[in-house]
């Protein structure tokens, strides 16, 4: 299907089904129950899942395939965001030109940054990308204020008059797709359950599926093979007469375009930008996502992005009152002790949990969650394979002597 082999088609189908049914899957608990706070099926968070999924998929094309660790990817996201919001301010409120523009601008910016940074590898490359990103952040914050809005960032305002949109005097524009407001939601209530189907989410999800498909094709293409060669041994590749620079640069630009796409989508959802989107911690976050999920795997970055955004939004909401509620069945002293021990890891301390989980993954599971899943799967498979092997002599032929006696 679509030029993919059977296994990849299945993966794509699974991802598509999960993405389309996400409003159901992420809201498994009825409204008002004590577990309802674990529901992640509200539009804002679901949009974040897919948008950061796209960002991480793009980052993975660079880091997962070529091994070049960029610490400045948030700059492309930020540049894409600014491009998108200017399209919406000046041209039209339709999101498609905005998103296309964000991809193009981020791609051009990535071309410049990549052309310079890729002259070095290893940690030098990381520092160079970091330097470029910090520079863009500092400039967006200070000198470029006329373009970027400085500290306050940019929003759609009542004074904006997009060329192609007919807005009434004083009306604040809203992002739309051919007239359909991105914030349109359809709510479905069955019993105590409430599911929200949001226009913006579905657009982002479809874009994510396309992005995922493209990354799959890149992974399976000869071009992807070249990128893997860069990772495994660039020197040997150069000795065989191949110039690796165009390949790495192409990978860098593609992943920058993905970041721009994510930035454009973000603007399409919430129609605002601020320079903090380009700060280096934002670049660090996408690194965390990719590693946590599994660098170099197809589905890993999406999983990592989902996990981190879920933790950020759900764990950080738990407070000590809720903890007391949970552990209420325990004797008082034990309850307090347990709450005391768990408390630093939740609420505002969710970064601590994230840091610990991340360290554990890097130490014990360099392949991320995907490798964890594979190991568990292998464990089961081995058990299955072990049992029949005794009864099946045909597949375990006795060794025969090499030389006839």
């Amino acid at each position: 299907m679509l030029g993919l082999n059977k296994k990849d088609s299945t993966l794509l189908l699974i991802v598509a089904v999960l993405a389309l049914l996400a409003p159901f899957i992420l809201n498994p608990f009825p409204e008002g129950s004590s577990l309802a706070q674990f529901n992640a099926g509200y539009p804002d968070l679901m949009q974040r899942f897919v948008i950061f999924g796209i960002f991480a998929i793009g980052f993975n094309i660079l880091f997962g395939l070529t091994g070049y660790l960029s610490f400045g990817h948030a700059a492309f996201l930020g540049v894409g965001s600014y491009a998108a919001i200017w399209m919406m301010k000046l041209l039209t409120l339709n999101v498609i030109p905005a998103i296309v523009m964000s991809i193009i601008v981020a791609g051009l910016f990535a071309l410049v940054v990549g052309f310079v940074s890729l002259r070095r590898s290893g940690i030098y490359f990381s520092i160079l990308t970091l330097a470029f990103a910090q520079m863009s952040y500092a400039l967006a914050y200070s000198v470029l204020t006329p373009i970027t809005g400085g500290e306050t960032g940019l929003q759609l305002k009542a004074t904006d008059r997009p060329l192609l949109s007919n807005l009434a005097e004083g009306e604040i524009g809203r992002a739309s797709l051919f007239g359909v407001d991105m914030r349109t939601s359809f709510e479905l209530a069955v019993g105590d359950w409430l599911w929200t189907f949001n226009m913006g989410y579905y657009i982002a999800a479809v874009v994510m599926l396309i992005a995922f498909y493209v990354s799959m094709r890149i992974f399976r293409s000869p071009f992807g093979m070249m990128l893997r060669a860069v990772k495994s041994n660039q020197q040997r590749m150069n000795y065989t007469g191949l110039n690796s620079k165009p390949y790495t640069l192409a990978a860098f630009v593609i992943s920058g375009m993905y970041a721009g796409l994510a930035g454009g989508l973000m603007v399409a959802m919430d129609t605002q930008v601020g320079p903090e989107r380009m700060f280096w911690t934002a670049s660090g976050e996408v690194v965390l996502m990719t590693i946590l999920g599994g660098a170099g795997t197809l589905i890993g970055p999406v999983l990592g992005a989902g996990l981190i955004k879920y933790m950020e939004n759900i764990i950080s909401k738990i407070n000590s009152g809720i903890l007391h509620e949970w552990f209420a069945f325990l004797p008082d002293g034990l309850e307090d002790a347990l709450v005391f021990m768990v408390y630093p890891f939740i609420g505002k301390g969710w970064h601590l949990t994230l840091g610990i989980v991340f360290m554990l993954v890097v130490i014990f599971l360099p392949g991320g969650l995907v490798e964890g899943g594979q190991r568990i799967a292998r464990l089961f498979r081995k058990k299955k394979a072990d049992t029949p092997s005794d009864k099946d002599p045909e597949h375990h032929p006795k060794p025969t002597p090499h030389v006839a006696e």
């Binding site: 030098y124 400039l139 200070s142 280096w280 970064h351 360099p366």
Partner: protein, 343 residues
């Protein structure tokens, strides 16, 4: 002319902090070959050692003071630090006042312990892993350390003043024959600079003039051969890691009066320190120190009003700009050695 001298002076204190952190980073990289992203966190822990010591010294209990009355006419309850009772009021006050310099002594054993624990507990297992893994795991560690500090000390900066004796400013202009009040420089920054020079000189002297330092230098040049000579180089490198942690910690302790410490100060400095290390040349100790001061001074020059008028925003980006130019023209950095971090 006076403006130039002022900018050089202004750059020196920030440059000292960069140089100290970069020195520690380079020590770790040169000996263990590990890229330590948690080094900024060590700087921050040092700063919080000073905060902790100040808190410990000001521990107090309430005492009823019969001689004074509150507005209801009852005897007034006053908080009296224990230290006043032990050493008398004047000495006690002086000790609290001098808590930042005292924190130097307090922080050394703590930083050494932290350094040992970090190296033996975590970094030891990452010698053979790729540099990307080292960056990632120490990045995670930095997040964890930062969050732990945030949990105990809160997210707000904690003011930690310098001793009263050093709060004023020094009029440099008079000394050099300019008009008074043209070049004013706070005492504490001068002290910070002097302190940084002493620490840097100490580290270099230690490496240059002791047998231990000689072995470490030999190990940096060729680890395997030193090991073959029957020297336990790993243990010495662990000690060097602890020393590097100590240097970062001391830089943090002394920096607290300049900027009130908060939990993310380490990360703010780390990014710049890495740029400094790379500009100086990976694995080169003099390079790290030189680049630290150079970038500090350049940064303060770029923030002069006259310069900003010509190139707006240059003060924000000068360090990165210099780093990019140097990396592209001198790929090994200012004083980098051949064969370090080259694929």
């Amino acid at each position: 002319m006076d403006a130039i001298i002022l900018q050089i002076l202004n750059g020196l204190d920030k440059g000292s902090a960069y140089a100290l952190i970069a020195l520690g980073l380079t020590l770790i990289f040169g000996t263990l070959g590990v890229v330590n992203f948690a080094h900024g966190a060590l700087f921050m822990i040092g700063a919080f050692c000073a905060v902790t010591l100040q808190k410990i010294l000001s521990l107090s209990h309430q005492v009823v003071d019969e001689s004074r009355k509150d507005f209801l006419g009852n005897p007034l309850k006053v908080d009296v630090p224990y230290i006043y009772e032990w050493f008398g009021e004047t000495t006690g006050q002086a000790i609290i006042d001098w808590s930042v310099p005292l924190a130097i002594l307090f922080s050394i054993p703590i930083m050494v312990l932290v350094g040992f624990a970090m190296e033996r507990g975590l970094i030891k297992h990452f010698y053979k892993r790729p540099h990307a893994d080292q960056i990632l795991v120490t990045f995670g560690l930095a997040i964890v350390l930062q969050e732990i500090i945030k949990y105990f000390y809160g997210a707000n900066p904690i003011p930690t003043p310098a001793p009263d004796a050093f709060t004023g400013s020094f009029d440099f202009g008079v000394l050099l024959g300019f008009d008074p009040f043209t070049i004013i420089y706070p005492y504490w920054r001068l002290i910070y600079f002097a302190f940084a020079m002493i620490v840097i000189a100490g580290v270099f002297a230690f490496l240059q003039f002791t047998t231990f330092g000689m072995v470490v230098r030999a190990g940096m040049a060729d680890r395997e051969t030193v090991g073959l000579l029957g020297i336990n180089i790993d243990r010495r490198f662990t000690i060097m890691f602890a020393i590097a942690a100590c240097v970062a910690g001391l830089a943090g302790v002394m920096y607290t009066p300049i900027n009130s410490p908060n939990y993310h100060m380490g990360m703010d400095f780390l990014v710049l320190s890495f740029v400094v290390v790379v500009v100086g040349g990976m694995g080169s100790l003099p390079g790290a120190v030189l680049a630290g001061f150079l970038l500090g001074v350049l940064e303060s020059f770029a923030s002069m009003a006259a310069v900003i008028d010509i190139i707006p925003g240059i003060n924000q980006i000068i360090i990165y700009l210099v780093a990019i130019v140097i990396l592209l023209t001198r790929p090994r950095g200012l004083m980098g050695r051949r064969g370090v971090m080259e694929e």
